[in-house]
Symmetry: C2
Subunit: 564 residues, 2 copies
């Protein structure tokens, strides 16, 4: 917060004590409704084969010459009619069974999980009401898809900021918080589950679906979120050698976790790949299908933690990069999430230094989101407003460059244009944040590629996933040095593939088997344990990179630029 | 309660309102400590093969070049060392796993259920501490055996009256109570579980065993107790056609029910045979091994509900008789349970009409228990004090026969002999209670035998189970008409075979498979649905039976008696 802002009466809510009656004005850019969180992701085609299916059966009525128990009566009929052979259930179903079968006058609908377990029995024919959830828990946001399991269609979406944020922006601060005692771990779990419940309630309300008819949830998230969600001690994720508590896919009852869907519903968590590469990366791989690719592909899921996966159907390597929340607009002066009104594209005319931008939804700008800030920094570099170290050129002069408190900044939108009535600028600090973030991501790519002896020219595809903007400008991603220098046509933006991968696993048990295959063929690389990490990271701080030989396209452009 | 008693200041506690300060004197015979409940039962020889086993393993310590997750590390080692191939677990174990393996410095003990599920992980080698429970819930009493799963030895016993008794002595009144609303069902469950917890806490305390080291419980009881215990709606057990909610064996987590042992422990309930023949009858069969017999055998488990089983290895039939609690001393003027000081044997010299008795433990008598009252009524019949209708003979005169309020009664022990300082007598009402009870039991036997076309001479063995006395006088059981007229050497008293059958299933999974075999080969007969029930029952009210041809031994004795 600048002195000017302070003078103008701005205060940080988290630093302000209210001493008496007060009228609070919340600036427009802080009034982001959570439902605007970007939730789209590329969906691969999947044959509908959900774990949960509903079966309607009419049972023969018992009489004194046929006193078979209610449960065996139901199971017999399900075997005869649908070939379901070895069914089990829990006491929650048995408790109510006698009343339900009689209320339905011996016509009932059984909800069966995995062709083995009856999770619900309802009176009459209600087989059309069968829903599931795909849940993606990011370090900073939660997205749920409510899916009709009879059609595979997403009927509603819910989204919310991860409420754990009050215990720290990044995973390590939350683990440190939870480490103090096990009650704190439980409170982190509780608050997370409450957040997911809010998102799923929103989705159920939108689609007018009863939560009781939601019979399965597929969970993805990074390893820390995974552990927090299940209440598993996450302490050792933050301590060398950073081992997770469990890697395999989990199946846990909703009731056990407090997820407000059918209490007997199964929560399926996709498997964990490593200390910081969780089920979200498995979902990304499932959506992008790298594990079936014939040629080498690279996948980046950019977020507060960025997961990088490299490989093909023969095998994959993966790692996690602590890229921080800059790409999600956090720690960026006018940063916002990829919501309506966010500046998502920026162009700077290299000659006139005139700035052009586009906002999401074409609305008046209220801030700048991940793709916008990537564009802005790359364009500033291309326009020579900043140098390869990210510093403002002293000589750069233009209407878009102004100074405040002795520091230069780039004005992207003037007061009159914005929804906030304030300029939207990019500061030196913003640029440095982006450099740190992109260096973290590129270092992950570089180390994996070196380990696998893969060169940029070997890459068939580079997939960029993440919810930081609708469309990344591939050229600028290369110019910034965020991704390896590959032909632009090879770079594809996939959006939130974590949630779509979770959805694929929700509607198809075959996809869950693919996830197991992925675990078997993926090797986890602990970046912090790599001796070259520090030197790689520091070289990657430059724009695009200190070693220009790795970015021949940019190098050539710079040489051309000098000549003209 | 007689007028004399009322005059002497006696009051029924349940009928008395306390209006001010009062001193209450509880008569000695009412001061029965619960731990005196008879808990012995015949135990068949069983090879130790419990579902729960503990495995001590030392795991390789993780390092940066070996970052396998804790769970997979444990599972790998259990597979390598013990050949355990497909292990699963619940979040309760995963939650704590990271801390436990580190506290034990990578040396841990895993508790495995059924070679498939890890229910606990503890630091270090604690494989010697592995316990299980056999739980028998009768309508009126609860008995638990605490068993060392490493040796198969019963290390302590706990017993308590079934606290549900406050909602009715018999099963039907409790069902009627629960029928009113589901909260009442839950409260019946809660109170029952609380009672079992008290019994198991007693046993654990006696043996100095931590409840956390109790990893499995095998439950037996009649079908109503089974349903109540699991919180299953029992309403329709009391409504024609009296179908149970479930028949197959159940496996339910202790935590789910509130049983205070390891929360992850499994509760295994043996299967249900019919609306009123529950897992207790399966346990009786398991203990007595009728299901493996080459010749026809008959089994009676006498209690508030009496289960009757007839058959051999080719097949079994079973039924339940509403015999009421008379054999357990309830509704008998001086009736007591089979505790120390209970009169368990009675002899009446047919010439002198002198009464002799024996008490449990040889102590001063404080009442009369089931076997004592059976003896007393049979001996009165043999001594011609009562006739075949159970009525006192007007002509019978002896010091042991006195009249009170115009009604005759038999004095078994005089004031000076008893622990209570009061006479112990058998009244006309007592005799009628016993007639009703024995008629109910015999009717069950008679109907099953008729259905199977089995005659007394076809019976190889008659087993009498139940906790109503240590040793039944077989001759008197026949004379009373409680059991079919077979040679006395064929009648065997087995005690509480419900709890010993549960114990057999606890320490051997092979026995659980035998239980499944029993379900398959047993046919349940609903006595109330048999057209001959009423006539059979009314004929069985006589002593020994209206149709003397069915009791040739008694008939011959009567003829001999007349001649002499």
């Amino acid at each position: 917060m600048t002195r000017g802002e302070l003078k103008a009466g701005y205060r940080l809510a988290c630093q302000t004590e209210v001493l008496g009656d007060a009228t609070v004005f919340v600036p427009e850019e802080s009034r982001i409704e959570v439902r605007k969180i970007q939730v789209w992701g590329f969906e691969r085609r999947v044959t509908l084969e959900p774990a949960v299916k509903k079966f309607y059966v009419v049972l023969p009525k018992p009489c004194l010459s046929d006193v078979q128990a209610d449960w065996e009566r139901l199971v017999d009929q399900l075997r005869k009619k649908f070939g379901l052979k070895t069914l089990t259930t829990g006491v929650e179903v048995l408790e109510r069974l006698p009343r339900v079968v009689r209320r339905g006058e011996w016509a009932v609908t059984a909800t069966v999980w995995n062709a083995e377990k009856i999770v619900d029995v309802e009176a009459g024919d209600v087989s059309s009401e069968s829903y599931g959830l795909a849940v993606d828990v990011g370090t900073s946001k939660i997205v749920v898809y409510l899916v009709d399991l009879n059609s595979g269609d997403t009927v509603a979406v819910g989204a919310i900021e991860n409420p754990q944020i009050m215990y720290g922006e990044d995973v390590i601060s939350r683990i440190t918080f939870a480490f103090q005692d096990s009650r704190k771990l439980k409170s982190l779990q509780r608050i997370l589950v409450r957040g997911i419940n809010a998102a799923l309630e929103e989705a159920c309300k939108k689609a007018a679906v009863s939560r009781r008819n939601v019979y399965e949830a597929v969970f993805v998230g990074n390893t820390a979120m995974h552990h927090f969600f299940f209440g598993i001690d996450a302490t050792y994720l933050a301590v060398s050698p950073y081992t997770p508590a469990v890697s395999e896919a989990l199946n846990v009852k909703a009731e056990k976790i407090g997820l407000k869907i059918n209490p007997n519903a199964n929560i399926h968590a996709l498997p964990v790949l490593g200390g910081f590469v969780g089920p979200d990366a498995v979902a990304d791989i499932l959506s992008s299908r790298i594990h079936r690719a014939r040629k080498k592909q690279l996948l980046l899921d950019i977020g507060t933690n960025t997961e990088v996966v490299l490989g093909d159907r023969e095998g994959l390597v993966c790692c996690s990069c602590a890229s921080g929340p800059a790409f999600e607009g956090v720690h960026i002066k006018h940063g916002v999430k990829a919501v309506s009104g966010a500046i998502e594209k920026v162009r700077i005319n290299p000659s006139s230094l005139k700035v052009e931008y586009e906002t999401i939804g074409g609305e008046k700008p209220l801030g700048i989101c991940g793709t916008g800030i990537i564009d802005a920094v790359a364009e500033m570099f291309k326009a020579r407003i900043i140098d390869e170290y990210g510093r403002f050129n002293k000589n750069a002069k233009a209407p878009c460059i102004k100074e405040e408190n002795g520091e230069k900044q780039l004005v992207i939108a003037g007061k009159n244009e914005t929804a906030t009535g304030k300029e939207i600028v990019v500061t030196q600090a913003d640029i440095n944040e982006i450099q740190l973030a992109k260096a973290a991501v590129y270092t992950g790519c570089a180390i994996l590629m070196k380990k696998e002896n893969v060169h940029p020219e070997d890459l068939d595809q580079v997939f960029i996933a993440g919810a930081f903007g609708s469309h990344i400008n591939s050229e600028n991603a290369v110019f910034l040095g965020l991704v390896p220098d590959v032909p632009l046509r090879k770079i594809k933006f996939l959006g939130n593939t974590a949630v779509t991968g979770a959805k694929a696993a929700l509607i198809s048990t075959k996809i869950r088997r693919e996830a197991e295959e992925i675990v078997k063929k993926t090797r986890y690389v602990e970046l912090g344990a790599q001796p070259e990490f520090q030197s790689e990271f520091s070289k990657a701080l430059s724009i695009p990179h200190r070693d220009l030989a790795r970015f021949p396209t940019v190098k050539k452009w710079m040489e051309d630029f000098k000549q003209c």
